[in-house]
């Protein structure tokens, strides 16, 4: 039995038997994740989701930032949404802004500095160097072009933000630290405290950033595997020497983390004060880039010689190689799961909900040996029970509910285990079908679920209706043959009819109105009337949380990411067609919020 009275959490047990002493970690876990009343039995709430980088505003620097996040969180809160979901904020590569997929980060425990609103950094208004930079011609030209572009120009955003942040860091050193580097103000003390809390993992990240910048500039290449042998090892004397010699630069990267964390916290607080009762929902990517900071810092943990992906399925017939580094489950266990626990904590910070992308990864991952086809991989098992229990414990400790993204091939028993652990299942309208393909009626959605109209990886509502995803796949030659494309088109024609049937049978669309969304020649037509009916349909589901993407609020046609493409398609670069100011003051958001609220009130009980 568990020693009586042992509280939840991490304990150390000293054992002795037969003259042998051993120490082991004893982790006492709750049966279930943290589930606030907003997600408890009978709850029917709604949340807004969006891609933070894609927000356009008159004040941001050509990419969504934490001030936009605060404003959007406040708007969502004012419309009685309980949460605002965003893409992973994981740190990408400061030295190479062209690696911009939020799902292929350098580090999952750190935040990407490009989300910092430079104008909200303490000292910005008073700093003359910063002002001179933003009043200069170079800045005006670069920012002007980036703001006018339809896609995010990450290099231009970095070129605008980085020099100003460097100036503000120099100001910070002068004003908040003394000549020896000791804090001489509250801000200085807060920074030193953040560094202490960040510990070795923050140091490793910052040293990596400084090294990466150094070797990218020297032309050694993007991957740390191409660095000189001594600095490939994070614990080598050469790395320590580099860190000492570049102390200010290393500290600059820690300063960026501190400021990003401070601004994220401020956005979360602003949202909560405006009525967003669960605050932000953050997203946790399934792995890290093998060339990034985490892979460099713990080379034993990351298995080299393989990457993770998915076997062939209906959407990707050749299988998928995500290019992410797999964690060696044996080493993870040997390390007492410390890296997993740290990553969970980092992502539950300032959040009321954490969405674990590809939650099947707690159970198994599909590994593809380097140099082999994506179809030639195999599944590797992970200690599922332990990992799920650590999720419940950290959820409890951080008061952060958990959604598990369980789309795709789901191993038998996984959903049941999630349910008993209080993890919300992630259900997407177009995937929720009966055996005959019909759309699952709202009353048959599971209660312990987050039901979403669409996701970043599939067509938006309008894109689905108009077959935009199929058109892109055709144009980019992603189909193995013409038959496959035609099969998709046939299926989509049928799906439109099935969805109209579902809306009619729920009484959300008069039968005689249905035809207007399918013109005589078979070309579909989309309108806000159809959007409204679909949102109401999902709002009436039994799922305790219903989610609407910002893209679907304003009927965007393009999806954030087209799986199966990387550089042939502008994934993770799309900017919203409407500015944040237009979104907040326009008619769409209040309309969708009213439909969501009303639909939730009329939703099936149970």
């Amino acid at each position: 039995m568990t020693p009586p009275g042992l509280p939840l959490g991490y304990h150390r047990l000293d054992l002795e038997a037969g003259g042998v002493a051993a120490q082991l970690g004893l982790v006492v876990v709750p049966a279930c994740c943290h589930l606030p009343a907003e997600l408890g039995p009978g709850a029917r709430n709604w949340g807004l989701t969006g891609q933070l980088y894609g927000l356009r505003s008159t004040r941001n620097w050509a990419m969504g930032d934490f001030t936009d996040l605060a404003r959007l969180a406040c708007a969502a809160g004012s419309y009685a949404a309980v949460t605002l979901g965003i893409n992973p904020l994981h740190a990408l590569f400061a030295a190479e802004p062209l690696h911009f997929s939020p799902y292929a980060p350098s580090s999952r425990t750190q935040i990407d500095y490009l989300y910092i609103d430079v104008t909200a950094v303490p000292g910005f208004a008073e700093d003359e160097t910063a002002r001179a930079l933003i009043e200069g011609e170079r800045f005006a030209v670069t920012l002007g072009a980036a703001r006018a572009a339809g896609l995010i120009d990450y290099s231009a955003v970095a070129a605008c933000k980085r020099p100003v942040l460097e100036a503000l860091f120099r100001r910070f050193q002068t004003h908040e630290l003394d000549a020896e580097g000791a804090a001489k103000s509250d801000l200085g003390r807060a920074f030193r405290e953040f560094q202490r809390d960040g510990g070795q993992s923050l140091v490793d990240f910052a040293v990596f950033e400084a090294l990466h910048e150094h070797y990218c500039r020297e032309g050694t290449g993007f991957s740390w595997r191409d660095w000189p042998a001594p600095v490939r090892n994070p614990r080598s004397p050469e790395v320590a020497k580099f860190a000492t010699a570049h102390h200010d630069r290393v500290e600059f990267f820690q300063y960026l983390q501190w400021e990003a964390d401070r601004q994220l916290a401020a956005a979360a607080v602003a949202g909560c004060e405006a009525g967003l009762s669960l605050g932000l929902y953050r997203d946790f990517a399934v792995g890290v880039d093998p060339d990034g900071a985490e892979a460099w810092a713990d080379q034993e943990l990351i298995a080299s010689g393989a990457s993770i992906g998915a076997p062939p399925d209906a959407f990707n017939r050749a299988g998928q190689n995500w290019g992410l580094a797999p964690v060696n489950p044996m080493i993870l266990q040997q390390q007492g799961y410390a890296p997993f626990i740290a990553a969970l904590r980092a992502n539950m910070r300032h959040a009321g909900i954490l969405r674990i992308d590809h939650v099947m990864s707690l159970n198994r991952l599909y590994w593809i040996p380097s140099g082999m086809e994506a179809s030639a991989g195999a599944y590797v098992s992970y200690p599922f029970e332990d990992l799920l229990r650590l999720v419940t414990l950290e959820s409890h400790r951080q008061a952060c509910a958990v959604i598990g993204e369980d789309l795709g091939t789901v191993p038998v028993g996984l959903r049941k285990a999630m349910r008993s652990a209080g993890v919300l299942s992630y259900r997407v309208l177009v995937f929720e079908r009966g055996h005959d393909g019909s759309f699952v009626p709202p009353a048959e959605y599971p209660p312990l679920a987050a039901a979403s109209v669409a996701t970043h990886d599939i067509a938006t509502l309008k894109g689905f209706w108009l077959g935009r995803d199929i058109a892109w796949r055709r144009r980019l030659d992603l189909y193995p043959d013409a038959d496959a494309a035609e099969a998709d088109e046939r299926e989509r024609r049928r799906d439109r009819l099935l969805l109209l049937d579902a809306l009619v049978s729920e009484g959300l669309l008069a039968p005689e109105r249905a035809g207007q969304f399918l013109s005589a020649n078979g070309d579909p037509a989309f309108s806000t009337e159809l959007r409204d009916a679909i949102i109401t349909y999902l709002a009436r589901s039994r799922a305790r949380l219903m989610l609407v993407q910002l893209e679907d609020v304003v009927a965007e046609i393009e999806q954030a990411n087209l799986p199966g493409t990387t550089d042939t398609h502008p994934n993770w670069r799309r900017r919203m067609s409407y500015s944040l100011e237009e979104l907040v003051s326009g008619a769409d958001l209040p309309r969708v919020a009213a439909l969501a609220k009303d639909g939730r009130l009329r939703s099936a009980k149970g």
């Binding site: 039995m1 568990t2 042992l6 939840l8 054992l15 038997a17 042998v20 002493a21 051993a22 120490q23 082991l24 970690g25 004893l26 982790v27 006492v28 876990v29 709750p30 049966a31 298995a303 080299s304 010689g305 393989a306 076997p311 062939p312 399925d313 209906a314 797999p326 060696n328 489950p329 044996m330 266990q333 040997q334 390390q335 007492g336 799961y337 198994r364 590994w367 040996p369 380097s370 082999m372 030639a376 991989g377 195999a378 599944y379 590797v380 098992s381 992970y382 029970e385 332990d386 229990r389 650590l390 795709g408 091939t409």
Partner: protein, 84 residues
């Protein structure tokens, strides 16, 4: 033991599934080449018999044969202490 049987046995020990069923319901046998390549990523020698001995040694070296961390339910029985 045949070569295939020896590789499969080792693969199972480290947690590699030697067959899987895809989303269409088709069963796939993972190739020897894939299994060998993945076993190598675990830092194990290519000869399955040698690799098994190495894993057994690692297990023996653990103090009292216990792993580094054990999880117990606050409400339930500590399964790691209960008799097998």
């Amino acid at each position: 033991m045949s070569d295939r049987a020896a590789i499969e046995q080792l693969a199972r020990i480290v947690g590699i599934e030697v067959h899987y069923t895809d989303t269409f319901g088709h069963s796939h046998k993972v190739s020897d080449e894939t299994l060998r390549a993945l076993i190598a990523t675990f830092g194990l020698p290519p000869d399955p018999a040698v690799a098994r001995r190495e894993l057994a040694d690692r297990q023996r070296r653990a103090p009292l044969g216990l792993g580094p961390v054990h999880l117990v339910d606050a409400t339930g029985v500590a399964t790691w202490l209960s008799p097998a």
